[in-house]
Every structure is written in structure tokens, then in C-alpha cells.
Symmetry: C2
């Protein structure tokens, strides 16, 4: 895919970038961005959809010309200005670009997203538009969202198991003190025995209680498969 | 989308189905399926890609005719046979269809998946092919995978917090016994004090240690945003 775009990054570049929260025109999104020399790649998501735009030097040159009729600068010059102005707004939070610049976001009827940027370059107004279209590649969504979330869930699940194990050992220690006649100076410090099974069942109940999104894991002979029901 | 297909389910029907592990021709996948009266919808994933096929009565009739030249039955009749044979193989595990039936799976060069089914209907061989194409709708991937995984992660994270709280209370109880002079009958029962912060840092280290998939959560002013880096 990336090979189509001259100067575009290898597929793993965006994988190494963090998803950062973004708030433009009251719209809450997560964004991943890569700005190269004269190319960029943007991914946006609201966890309902994923949008993206990939632009190379030629496409950037042509859009810049279209939006800025009087622009005479080479692509490298105005692209470095674009990066300087756009990066802060796409790097998390509700940071606004510099004093002279404004960014706004519009969700279009066709489901796409456009972000308009207005700034100033060499005393003239400079316009830019990001056209992020609905991502049609399940490979991108899987690698950028599904797989990291799956890994996250597995690590958290392992952590739950580990903490459960710690609790069982604490209970064994407490039981030993009690059996040797130890008493507490303050009764309110007494804890209930941790029942791993009850706790797990309670958790599964909570997961299933969420309409349309209940999730449970499920060990299959050959694979650690996550079964999301 | 579903409106395009006569007799197809509302969008939420597959959301309520579980992802079930599937093993056909040595290929490990997760599958979600819905079989209606004369329509079906299949989703497959290997967590790298998502594939799907949606078929209505007309499409089923036409493919059945194409694959079974001598077939003269109405669509309802052979569709109920197809369900009976196909359902067990698509419902998890490496279950094979009935005695007379065989299913095989092929990953094609264009990235799509075809599953071929051969069975017997009224004494004649009956062929069927599922043509699952790469899902081009990020909305489907998000609703069927990303959002359930996100919910799962959040619930697990809450659980980790809860278990951490239990451990702190156990330590307070243990400390009280110790301060009152209690001793253990077996030294090996003694546990280390649970350090929530150290444990969390250790966990984050593990998450970050996974190349291309390190994930960390991140609280933003207005949203519980998950930031996957």
C-alpha cells in the first residue's frame, strides 16, 4: 500500500505512533499522524469508524495550488509551514495552532471528515484541507486498533490472574496468623477471604450485562482465541 | 447496508452473536454467523483482517444453480439443507459436517477466502461455496471487534484496580497482626507488601516491551480515551 506513495513511510511507522486524543470543533477523536518530508499519513477514529488520508508530494502540491491560487512556493517550503501549523493541533488535547492559525473539523454527509486549516504564510493567507475518508482496509483497522487492544486485554487478563494469586497467598498468611490466635486491634481491618471463582463469575456477569458488547475469553485447543459475544 | 438485502437481519443481529473459534483446512479463525430463512451473513477474522459474505435469497438461488446444474429444488428447500450442513462447521471447534459432507477453506491470492462445501441432497451431490471478501467497512470492524475489545479492556482495568484495592486492605490486616506480635507458624507463608505503583510500572513496561503493539491508557479531560502507542 505504502509503496504507491513516493516518500511515504513503511507500513510499520504509524504502528509505532501513539493514538492521541484530539478535540477539534467539539469533536472527540483519537489520531495517529506521520509527517514526512513532503508526505503525510493521518488516521482518525471515534471507535465507531476509522478515517484516513495519505498524501504524497504531488497530491500536496496540487491541493495547495487549488486552495491557494496565489501560492508560488515549492512544495517543500509550504509543506514545512503546514507541518509547523498542523502538527500541534493533531498531537493531542485541544491545542489550537499558533496565533494566526485556525483549524476546524466537519463531518460530512458521506461519512467522511474534512479538517480546514487557515494560517498565514509570508504575509498571505494560507489554506489547507485534510480530507479523511472512511478507511476501507480492515488490515489497517486490525493492525492499528484490534491487535493492540487484543494484546492489552491479554496482558490485563494475565495481571488479573497474577493479582488473584497474590490475594490467595495473603489469605493463607492471614489464616495462619488467625489459627495461631492472633487478633486484630481494630475489627474494621478484617477482610473477607478472596473467592477467585465468585469474583470471576461476577466479572463475567458484568461483561455479559453490557448490551451488544459482552465479551468473554475462551480457551481453545490450539489458540488463545478471544471470543467476543 | 442491511437494507440492501431482502430478508437480511438488522445490523445488531451479528453484534449479539459470539465470535467462535474455527479450524478448517488448518486455518485458525474466529467466525460469527447468522443464518436466516433464505439469507446468511458470515464474518471471519484472523485478527489481521476481517472477511465477510452477505447473501440474500436471489444470490443464493443463483449460486446454487451455478454450482449444481441438475438442482431443481426451490431456494427454501436447499437452503435449509445448506444450513443443516454448514452450521456445525461454522459454529466453533474443528467440527466436521455430517458423514457425507466435506468442507475446505482456501485463502486466495487476492486476499479473499473461499470455503467449499460438498454434501449430498436427495441422493445427488450438493456443492456450495462461501466467498468471503475482505471487509471494506471500518464500521463493521469497529462494532464487531474494536468496541467489544475496548469495553473488555476497560472492565479488566477496573478489575485490576479493584484487586489492587483488596491487596492493600489485606496488607493493612497483616500489618495489624504483625504489630500486635503475631508470628507465622511457617515462614514461607509470609508475603511481600503489595506495591501498587511498582506493579503498575512493571505492567506498563511489559506493554511497551511488545514491539508495534504497546498500549497504554491515558485519561483525557473529557473522555476516557485509550491511547495505543
Amino acid at each position: 500500500m505504502y509503496a504507491e506513495l513516493k516518500g511515504a513511510p513503511a507500513a510499520h511507522v504509524l504502528l509505532e505512533r501513539p493514538w492521541l486524543p484530539l478535540c477539534i470543533s467539539g469533536c472527540q477523536l483519537l489520531a495517529k499522524t506521520w509527517f514526512g518530508d513532503t508526505a503525510y499519513h493521518i488516521l482518525l477514529t471515534d471507535m465507531q469508524c476509522v478515517w484516513e488520508e495519505r498524501m504524497d508530494a504531488a497530491a500536496i502540491q496540487s491541493r495547495a495550488q487549488e486552495l491557494n491560487r496565489r501560492l508560488r512556493a515549492p512544495v517543500k517550503a509550504f509543506f514545512s509551514h503546514l507541518c509547523e501549523v498542523a502538527r500541534p493541533c493533531l498531537s493531542g488535547g485541544d491545542a489550537q495552532p499558533g496565533d494566526e492559525a485556525k483549524i476546524s473539523l466537519m463531518r460530512q454527509e458521506d461519512g467522511n471528515i474534512s479538517m480546514r486549516l487557515k494560517s498565514e504564510l509570508a504575509g498571505l493567507p494560507f489554506y489547507w484541507e485534510f480530507h479523511c475518508t472512511l478507511c476501507s482496509n480492515s488490515l489497517t483497522v486490525c493492525s492499528q486498533l484490534v491487535r493492540p487492544l487484543l494484546l492489552m486485554s491479554r496482558l490485563l487478563q494475565r495481571q488479573v490472574g497474577q493479582l488473584g494469586g497474590f490475594l490467595l497467598r495473603k489469605d493463607a498468611e492471614i489464616q495462619d496468623y488467625r489459627e495461631n490466635g492472633a487478633t486484630l486491634s481494630r475489627e474494621r481491618l478484617q477482610t473477607e477471604v478472596f473467592e477467585e471463582r465468585t469474583h470471576r463469575e461476577d466479572f463475567i456477569g458484568k461483561v455479559r450485562g453490557q448490551p451488544h458488547t459482552h465479551t468473554h475469553t475462551h480457551t481453545h485447543t490450539h489458540t488463545h482465541s478471544l471470543s467476543l459475544s
